[in-house]
Amino acid sequence: MSKIRISIYILLSTVILCTSLFLAPKVINPFHLDAMTKDILVSIRLPRVMVAFLMGMALGASGAMLQGILRNPLADPYILGISSGASLSAALCLLSGTYFLGKFTIPFAAFLGASLVSLLVGFFGWRRGGFWPERLLLAGIGLSFLFHAVLMLLLSISPGEHIGRTMFWIFGDLSAADWSLIPYGALFILSGFVISLSRAKALNALILGDELAHSLGFSVHRERLLVFISISLMTAASVSLGGIIGFIGLLVPHIMRFFVGADSRILVPASGIGGGMLLCLADLIGKTVIHPVEIPSGIVTAIIGSPYFLYLLRRKDVLGA
């Protein structure tokens, strides 16, 4: 990667971060802070940017890992059904109005749902001493359909007043971000990120196929288990921080592969950072274009992501033959 490209990335990231913090939707001059603007900056904008970055990082990095271990360019972290489990359990609380842990209820429920579904997917994907990519994929798809159907059932029989908030959460809601959740989210996401970085070589080898990975000295099943754990941790934490954000996990690794190549040692961290930046940007767009109404970030990422993805799809050198 050339120095010019790196400089462009750093510049873009700085612009996105500064705009999110100081310019939009209302200008705050960081050199002349009064009590109120300081409060807005520290308790509203900063945590929101951090949550967006963490979520995007988790999704981008786990998307890159997942496309590698499933050897499938169309995989994203939600294909494992993690999002559907999280939505269902969060929706159960939101629709019934149960808040047994106060403001931690929804994140906790989402994390619990996501983790349970990861275990279930792992259970179905496990055979003869290890995970098999096709089984994981199919188990994820099967479970997603089931949980999605139950979620739709719940939505269709619920009284109207809770539905709006539930839908808002499902489409990725960063508006509730505050400092209280960041330590937990950061803990899970950063540990998942560190595991994934430490497995990057193994991931490269797994992309070549199980037999070559074995010949290169990797224990195939153990490596797949570790990668699966790191993906589950990051995705579950990301969903519990702010709901479902589509397209980052699918799209960002492809964009990054185009720029930095397919070597997981570079691609995984690059997708993490790129994912974080893209979600910050999406959040910024979502809260400014029709201010004061906010568009959920999940919708923004899908609206700007899908056309770009389709454009990439037309380019042979990005997605393969």
Binding site: N204, E211, L212, H214
Partner: protein, 273 residues
């Protein structure tokens, strides 16, 4: 006439292997490979060549019997340590790997914490891919792709190299080049090579040949004794003549008429197996 067998690098002792759904089988296989041997593993389709290589590489575990690498049970090695002693190149290679040639070949050094003797540039040179080192694997031809994988395997620098049909789909030039390269490596570093193949002419280039049929060893001796009409008839169910040219090289010819006007006759012969 061949170097006296050193300490065996690989030993199979009464190895039996059955696939779960009985797809293939290896019966009571016993043999050993000495350091520095260059062995052709020859047999018809489905005779068990690939299974033997997978057993030797530790990808498959024997149902019964023992496999030893340098005198120690194969499965007692840590994967990373084993990868420094033994490397395996499967027959089926993914056509859609997302890496560039250089990225792929560099993976050969993964088992090491320091660079092995042979550098990435040297191994690219050896397979004639220096100019394509920055190309994407998926943009290469089938033969070039295979050469890149061979370069990766060579870079791994293990003392025992197991290659499953590495010469399939290669131009004759590269078949010869790669055989020459392997021989050079063998001469320089005394590595042992076991290569599955089913081209009998190519098998003549090896010092020793192991003939396999239905998961059993028909014979494992030096090439002249193995590649006789009788042995080949038994292994392949085809009548084959071994001839010598005036220049001194040997080649095979088919006794059956396989003239192009009657291809069905040839097919009919094959289907009897």
């Amino acid at each position: 006439m061949f170097s006296a067998p050193d300490r065996p690098i690989l030993e199979f002792q009464r190895v039996v292997f059955t696939y779960q759904r009985d797809e293939g089988f290896i019966h009571d296989l016993t043999f050993s490979v000495a350091n520095g041997e260059f062995i052709g593993l020859l047999g018809a389709n489905g005779s068990g060549k690939s299974t033997i290589l997978k057993l030797a590489s530790g990808i498959l575990k024997p149902s019964h019997g023992f496999i030893k690498l340098w005198g120690k049970p194969l499965h007692s090695y840590k994967n990373k340590d084993k990868a420094k002693l033994l490397c395996y190149l499967p027959q089926l290679l993914d056509v859609n790997v997302p890496f560039t040639v250089r990225e792929l070949v560099s993976m050969g050094i993964y088992p090491y914490d320091i660079l092995p003797e042979m550098t990435v540039a040297e191994s690219l040179e050896a397979v004639g891919l220096t100019e394509k080192s920055e190309s994407y694997m998926r943009n290469l031809s089938g033969g070039e792709r295979r050469r890149a994988f061979i370069a990766m395997t060579l870079l791994q620098g293990a003392g025992l190299v197991l290659l499953d049909e590495p010469l399939a789909n290669l131009d004759i030039k590269y078949q010869i080049e790669i055989l020459r390269l392997l021989r050079e490596l063998k001469a320089k570093k005394n590595i042992s090579i076991i290569m599955a193949l089913h081209d009998i002419n190519m098998a003549m280039q090896f010092e020793k040949v192991m003939l396999i049929k239905d998961g059993k060893i028909l014979g494992f001796e030096n090439t002249e004794r193995m590649l006789t009409s009788d042995m080949l008839m038994e292994a392949f169910d085809v009548a084959i003549d071994i001839k010598s040219s005036q220049a001194g090289s040997t080649y095979i010819s088919y006794k059956n008429d396989i003239s192009p006007c009657c291809p069905l006759q040839r097919r009919g012969k094959g289907s009897e197996r």
